[in-house]
């Protein structure tokens, strides 16, 4: 038996991922590619919102999409069909989130550096918030049927996101959802969050969101 000793590590669990994420962010910057990580619970309308957004943005820049799901390729096919933009499906193999390494693999798989890549994270409000993907902008989508108290129940994801999109506002009449209260709940967690209220289905509010993203990318360059 060898000599027993203690090795002090004192490392944060996320240190390695955070380092890889920073490297990826810098690498993409050097290629002129802006990466947006989109998070939400399942069914909040991530894919529909992306399709609507991409169709408004694609006249101004080259866009690609990475769809992360536990299994199947329905989202990648749907986005490609409805936008004409290249899209690839990433399978997390049971994992509930993407980390920086998986994101890098996805970008390598795309094989090009468009002006903008949307990363549609796994539908989940817990785990994706913990892992920095290397994105330049983190967005979270919250939909009316989910309730205005969601930011209080899942605070971390709302703290990490710089923009919050309240989707499905065309359904406000059918749910007890107080939009002003929801905004207060978001700002309580994250006073710097930019909040957009939209309906990806009817297009309401999408113009403002589109303009914000265009402006953000322009300022980033």
């Amino acid at each position: 038996m060898g000599k027993v000793r203690t090795i002090l590590l004192q490392k944060g669990v996320f240190d390695d991922n955070d380092l890889q994420a920073r490297k990826l962010r810098d690498y993409l910057k050097s290629k002129g590619t802006f990466l947006i990580n989109v998070m939400s619970s399942p069914g909040a309308g991530k894919t529909t919102t992306l399709v609507s957004l991409i169709n408004r943005l694609k006249g101004f820049m080259n866009i690609a999409v990475m769809e992360a799901d536990i299994d199947y390729d329905i989202d990648a096919v749907r986005v490609a069909d409805k936008t004409g933009c290249p899209s690839i499906q990433l399978h997390t193999g049971g994992m509930c989130h993407l980390d920086a390494e998986m994101t890098k693999q996805g970008i390598d798989g795309l094989g090009s550096f468009p002006d903008l890549i949307f990363l549609e994270n796994v539908g989940n409000l817990v785990c994706p918030a913990e892992f920095d993907t290397g994105a330049h902008l983190d967005a979270v989508i919250l939909s009316v049927p989910e309730g205005d108290d969601k930011p209080l129940k899942y605070p971390l994801v709302f703290q990490k996101a710089s923009i919050v999109i309240i989707n499905k506002i065309d359904a406000l009449d059918y749910f007890t959802f107080d939009a002003e209260k929801c905004k207060r709940n978001i700002l309580e967690n994250n006073p710097n969050a930019r909040i957009f209220t939209v309906s990806a289905k009817t297009g309401e509010g999408m113009e403002e969101l589109t303009n914000y993203i265009k402006k953000t990318i322009k300022e980033w360059h």
Binding site: T6, Q10, G12
Partner: protein
């Protein structure tokens, strides 16, 4: 439910450190986990037991999870209180102007090796 992803990150970092330090095996691993860090200790232990079988140095590693209490500070009345019991609202003065001082960390503290 995200414990598996976190276990993977922990194990990968420990395996790398074991390799760098040229150890034979890791006997014990100590992690500090905050009470409000979103890790469920029992799930974490189950995931760890499953994942360690896939490693080179950690086949027999004992996991020691040290739970760090969540403590918040109230900027209004300048007192601290237990976060788990009172969340964001100060139990002394009722203020919401509070912040977490400690208890959300997940730190790989040290490893006993031979």
């Amino acid at each position: 439910m995200h414990e598996l992803g976190i276990v993977k990150h922990v194990v990968d970092q420990v395996e790398k450190a074991a390799e760098e330090n040229k150890v034979n095996k890791v006997l014990k691993l100590t992690l500090e986990v905050g009470e409000v860090s979103s890790i469920v200790p029992d799930y974490f232990k189950d995931c760890f037991e499953w994942y360690k079988k896939k490693t080179k140095y950690m086949q027999d590693t004992l996991l020691d999870l040290v739970i760090i209490e969540g403590i918040s500070y109230c900027t209004n009345c300048k007192t601290t209180y237990k976060t788990v019991e009172h969340a964001k609202i100060c139990p002394s003065c009722g203020s919401k102007e509070t912040y977490l001082v400690t208890g959300n960390q997940m730190t790989i503290k040290d490893m006993l090796v031979e």
